[in-house]
Symmetry: C2
Subunit: 351 residues, 2 copies
Amino acid sequence: MASHGARNRSGGRPTLEEVAARAGVGRGTVSRVINGSPRVSDATRAAVEAAVAELGYVPNTAARALAANRTDAIALVVPESETRFFAEPYFSDMLKGVGAELSDTEMQLLLIFAGNDRERRRLAQYLAAHRVDGVLLVSVHADDPLPDLLAQLEIPAVISGPRSAAETLTSVDSDNYGGARSAVEHLLDRGRTRIAHITGRLDVYGAQRRVDGYRDALRDAGHPVDDLLIEPGDFTEEGGSRAMRNLLERRPDLDAAFAGSDVMAAGARQTLREAGRRIPQDVALVGYDDSAIARHMDPPLTSVRQPIEEMGRRMLDLLLAEIADRRPAVSRGLERRQVVLATELVARASS
Amino acid sequence: MASHGARNRSGGRPTLEEVAARAGVGRGTVSRVINGSPRVSDATRAAVEAAVAELGYVPNTAARALAANRTDAIALVVPESETRFFAEPYFSDMLKGVGAELSDTEMQLLLIFAGNDRERRRLAQYLAAHRVDGVLLVSVHADDPLPDLLAQLEIPAVISGPRSAAETLTSVDSDNYGGARSAVEHLLDRGRTRIAHITGRLDVYGAQRRVDGYRDALRDAGHPVDDLLIEPGDFTEEGGSRAMRNLLERRPDLDAAFAGSDVMAAGARQTLREAGRRIPQDVALVGYDDSAIARHMDPPLTSVRQPIEEMGRRMLDLLLAEIADRRPAVSRGLERRQVVLATELVARASS
DNA sequence: ATCACTTGTGGGAGCGCTCCCACGGTACCT
DNA sequence: AGGTACCGTGGGAGCGCTCCCACAAGTGAT
C-alpha cells in the first residue's frame, strides 16, 4: 500500500519523523545519516537510506536553518548596476569561477546587485536578517561602508580587491602592481618611450596600484614620469574613449598606451581609429584583464591576464573555510588572510 | 540602560517575543504589525513600531518560512550555461525587467543556471525541496522536462516562451510570427526578392513561429518560398556565420537575409564581409531582438524589437499573482494565461 | 436588559529540524 | 568480578515564527 498516511501541512512531503518510523529508528539517527555523521552503524545507515529513497524524502531547509542557525547560502554582492555587471567581463568570469567551485557543495549562491542607494539599503536589511552564511564582495570602492557593516554583523566575508594596503577583511587579489609593471616594461622593450596610462577608477585600490606599477616601471628604466601622460578613466568603454581624446590633445606625440582594463582599451582604440592613428604602428596599445574582448579586438589586444576565475575559486574556498571556522565559536581570526595571485602578459598584435 | 538582556542563540538578535515584551503587547500583535494586518489599533501599532525601531528587530526568515510554509523567494531559471547567459543580451534584459519589478517587493530573486545534466539534477532537487515559492522559466526547448516537473510539484511557474501552441503553463511571449512577417515585408518593400532566413534553434517554439512568419509573408506577397534559402542556426554568432556560409554556397544570388537573432546577424555580417558582399548594397540584413549589438553594429542593424524588459516585468506580475492565488487553496487556474506582446521593426542602415 | 455581532488582543500549539543528554551494550582494562 | 571507556542510539527541548481559537470590550438592534 502506497504511503498516503501522514498528511502534513507542506503538501504531504515526508518529514524526518516519517522516515524514522519507516526505517524503524529514532529521529536523531535519521538526522545523523542525512548529515553524514560517522557515528551510525552501516546496517542502520542502509535502512535509513532505503526509507529516504522510498519516501522521496527531501530535508526542509527552513526547519534546518531555524534549528541550526545557518542558511547554507552565500551571497555574491556586486556593488554595481545590472548594466555594468553585464558589460564587464570581470564579473562574469568571477561568477564562473565561484559557480564552478560551488557545485561540489550544498551551498546556494545568491547574486545581489547593489548599484544604487535603494538596493544598498535593501542589502543592508538583508544582511541584518542574516539570510546568508557569508558574503563574497567584488570590486569595492575605497569609501564603501559595506565591509564595515559586514564586520559589525560578524558575517564572514571575502573581498575581491582589498580597499587599501591595510584591508582588514580576508581578500583575494591579483598582483596589480606587477601586472602594470610588466605591461609598461613590455612597451619599453618594443622601443616605445612616450607611454600613456589610462587609469581605472582611482577609488579602487587595484587601479591605484596599477598606476604605481606604471610609474615605477618607467622610473626604474630611467624614464621621466610625465603626469600629462596619465589620464583617469572609469573602467567603461566611453571613459576609455574620452581619456584617449584628452591624451591626444595634451600629448599628440604619444607612441603607446597602457589602459587599466580591456574595455577601456577598446574605447581608446576607437578614438585612435578616428584620429587616424594606426595600431600598433603609430600607437601601441596594451589592456588589462585579458578578457574575451582582447582576443576579439581588431587588432587583437595585448593584455595583462588576471586569473579571474581562479580568484573566484579562491575567494569561495576562503569564505567556506571562514564559515566552517566560525561554527564552533573558535578563537576568531586574528590572522587576516590576503591572497595575491600572479598576472601574466599576453602579447598580441596591438603592441 | 541598553538592551543586553535576553541572549538567544542567533547572536543576540531580538525576537518577536522580546519586541512584544518591550511594547507591552502579545506576540500575536507584534506579528500582525510586522505583517501589515489592518486589525491593529493605531496606538498599539505605534507602540510596536517604536519597540521594533529601538531594538533593531529584523524578522527571522527561516522561522517565518517554517511556520508559514513559504519562502518569499522565486527563482529565475536559465536552462543554459553561464557563458551563453552572458553572451545573450536577451537574458540580461529579461533579468533587468524582472529585477526592476521585484524591487517593490519583499521577494528575493535567485538566479539558477541549468546548462548541463549535473546542474539540472541539482535544480530538480532544489525544486523538490520547495525552496522557492515560484519559478520564472526562460527560453525553454520543446523537450525540456522542467515544466512538467514544476507542474507535478505544483510550483507556480511562468514561462517566457511557450513550448508549443498548446502550452499548459502560464506564458509570456512576443509576437514572433508577426515580428518575422514585418521583417520580411520590410525587405520586400525595399525591393529585395531573394530573401534568406537564418533560423534560431528549431526546438524553440518561437523560432518556428518566426519561420512561419517568414514563409507566410513571402507567400502572401506572391513570392515562392525556396527552402534552399532557409538555413538553421542556433542563436550563436558562430552559428550565424556558418549558416551564411552555407547560404552563399547554395544561393550566391541572395540579396537579403533575415536572421532569427541579432547575435546571429552579427555572425552573418562577418561572413558577408569576408565574402566581399556589401551591406546593404549587395545584401540587406535584418536581425531580431533589437539588442545593443544591433545599434552598435557597422552598419547599424535593422532589427525586430521585442519588449524583453517588459516581458520580464509581465512574467513576474503573473507569477506573483499565481503565488498569491494559491495561498488560500482556491479553485486553481483552469484558465491558463498566455500573454503575447507586440513587436516593432526598427529600421537602420543595414537594409 | 438581552442578544448578536464586531474589533482588538493574548497566547497555545505546532511547523520540521538540530542539539545534546541519557542510556544500554560491548570491549578492554585492572 | 568490577571498573572505565566508548559506540550507537532514542527522544526531549527548543529554534522564532504564524495560525487560530478564545476572550474582553464595545456597538447597536431587539
